[in-house]
């Protein structure tokens, strides 16, 4: 059964006077991994941050069009961005654990929503297990997260996002600051997570997009050039520009 979890209708986005995204209309399928690719400055990260209203934090930005999530435009005036961010989690490019203990990093989000204290230990364990970090940190839960390696920190950030039990997980180049082994672990993890979550990932790494995603969208200069099954995009793209980018002729 196919089901669209997020739908974009003619979305335009402006930083001040500068238009960063032009007339983007697309649908994200539930329990799939969708990769957003394209050269730097093409708007793919901007699009990702639009999906959980993180761009609200930047002054002087403006959105046109609608983004439908759970039958509601998340940019409707009566929508609380805080609610959206609790359902649509995010993992950033640079691992950014809080300078707190590992345990408190995971329980940070659930504490905000007021999940009972007795549930919390179980939730921390479950989230860390989901992020395949439990075995490495189960004895040091009360140590600072800053002592972990970069790859561990990034999995911690994924676990932290999962602790909110989101519907969608946005990932903004989650492996670009990591070594190949950590990258491989995160990619395995993404494959595992798509059973339960919808994942939208921005990546600069073409092989990574080909390896882990079901759908791929190619962006260029704020326009969506092509959006299709990943196999199709990487073997037989419809648009010449896509082919040029994928084969490394520009980018």
């Amino acid at each position: 059964m196919e089901f669209n979890i997020i739908k974009l209708n003619k979305v335009n986005f402006f930083y001040g006077q500068v238009r960063a995204l032009t007339d983007i209309s697309m649908k994200f399928e539930k329990n799939k991994v969708t990769a957003l690719i394209g050269p730097s400055g093409c708007g793919k990260s901007t699009l990702l941050r639009l999906l959980n209203r993180m761009n609200d934090l930047i002054d002087g930005t403006r959105v046109e069009g609608e983004i439908i999530f759970e039958n509601k435009n998340i940019y409707a005036p009566d929508v609380d961005p805080v609610e959206i961010r609790r359902k649509i989690g995010m993992v950033f490019q640079k691992p950014n654990p809080f300078p707190k203990t590992i345990y408190n990093n995971i329980s940070y989000g659930p504490k905000l929503t007021g999940i009972g204290f007795e549930d919390r230990d179980a939730l921390v364990e479950r989230s860390l297990k989901q992020a395949v970090l439990w075995d490495e940190v189960k004895d040091i839960l009360n140590k600072s997260a800053m002592n972990l390696s970069g790859g561990q920190q990034q999995r911690l950030c994924i676990a932290r996002a999962l602790a909110m039990k989101p519907d969608v997980l946005l990932m903004d180049e989650p492996t670009s600051a990591l070594d190949p082994i950590s990258t491989a672990k995160i990619e395995e993890l993404i494959d595992e997570l798509k059973k339960d979550y919808t994942i939208i990932i921005v990546t600069h790494n073409m092989q990574q997009a080909a390896r882990i995603s079901d759908e791929t969208a190619f962006f260029y200069l704020g326009n969506m050039i092509e959006y299709n099954k990943t196999d199709k995009i990487f073997t037989n793209p419809d648009v010449k520009q896509t082919e040029d980018y994928i084969t490394g002729r520009f980018g």
């Binding site: 959980n52 993180m54 934090l57 002054d59 805080v82 609610e83 961010r85 609790r86 989690g89 995010m90 950033f92 640079k94 691992p95 950014n96 654990p97 809080f98 300078p99 707190k100 940070y108 989000g109 905000l112 929503t113 600072s144 800053m146 002592n147 950030c157 932290r160 996002a161 909110m164």
Partner: protein
């Protein structure tokens, strides 16, 4: 001249200049101790620090500075109790909440406050705050602990606010984004992520604010009232250490016992501010976070 020789010469010029300031400071400390220490030949250290009576011009004189120490501490403590919430909350407002234009105005107002000469603030305390206190609370004098504390707090706010602000700015943007992305509101983010991450910097600000307040002379000279006795209420007058030195130094014969006692008070003050600075330094290193959270 070769390029290398020039580099070497420049290096030594800078070295000499930095040496000059260090040496001058060292000599000041040296003379402070040279002038002050002899008093302990006549008065024991215990009697000096814990003596309850400061009657330097009586016959025989009595040099107990405990009331002065109490005066300094109580005025500083209350000033800090007033200045810390105001300074820190101002810093939070400026760095995290205020829109750009209000931020600019507030920052320059605080800088202006820092630039006010202490004698002007003291004058304000004398002619405006003191009569008001006296009338409102029906006191014998408005020159008292509360008055001095309020004026000192006004002086300490810019120090506390601007150093706290720097600490808040140094909290990496990534922490804030992580918090927002987990569905935290702005206030939850400030209280649970930004403030804890900036805590060492804010503690430093508080310690430096205290050092500033305890060493401040003109304000306490003008508005603390000058009574060298242990105060019984917040409306009593006190004689903090710097006020005593400033008020009496002009009257004492050179190298008399009184003169040496005033220098010894200077030594006590020096040790106190040094302690505050060392604590500030220690706190900012001890609680410094490692990793990308380094301040």
């Amino acid at each position: 001249m070769t390029r290398q020789a020039k580099e070497i010469i420049i290096k030594y010029i800078f070295f000499v200049f930095s040496l000059v300031s260090v040496v001058v400071l060292g000599l000041i400390v040296f003379s402070l101790f040279r002038e002050g220490l002899p008093v302990f030949g006549k008065v024991s250290l215990k009697d000096f620090i814990f003596g309850m009576e400061w009657y330097p011009t009586y016959d025989p004189p009595s040099f107990g500075i405990f009331p002065l120490i109490v005066g300094s501490f109580i005025v500083t403590l209350i000033a800090i109790l007033i200045a810390v919430p105001l300074g820190v909350l101002t810093a939070i407002y400026i760095s995290e909440i205020a829109p750009q234009n209000i931020k600019a105005i507030l920052k320059s107002v605080i800088e202006l406050l820092a630039g006010l000469p202490s004698v002007v603030l003291g004058f304000f305390g004398m002619v405006i705050v003191a009569p008001w206190l006296q009338e409102t609370f029906d006191l014998p004098t408005g020159l008292n602990i509360i008055n001095a504390s309020v004026i000192l707090a006004i002086m300490a706010i810019p120090t506390i606010s601007s150093i706290s602000e720097d600490a808040l700015y140094a909290v990496p943007q990534e922490f804030k984004e992580a918090s927002y992305a987990l569905g935290a509101t702005k206030y939850e983010t400030i209280a649970r992520v930004i403030l804890p991450a900036a805590l060492s910097g804010i503690s430093t600000a508080v310690m430096l604010g205290m050092a500033r307040a305890i060493g401040e002379t003109m304000v306490v000279l003008m508005v603390a009232g000058g009574a060298a006795a242990i105060p019984e209420s917040l409306f009593d007058s006190v004689r903090p250490m710097p006020a005593s030195i400033a008020a009496e130094m002009g009257e004492t014969p050179f190298r008399s016992l009184h003169y040496q006692a005033l220098f010894a008070i200077g030594i006590v003050l020096f040790c106190l501010t040094l302690t505050f600075n060392l604590i500030a330094d220690y706190v900012s290193h001890k609680f410094r976070q490692v990793g990308s959270g380094t301040l």
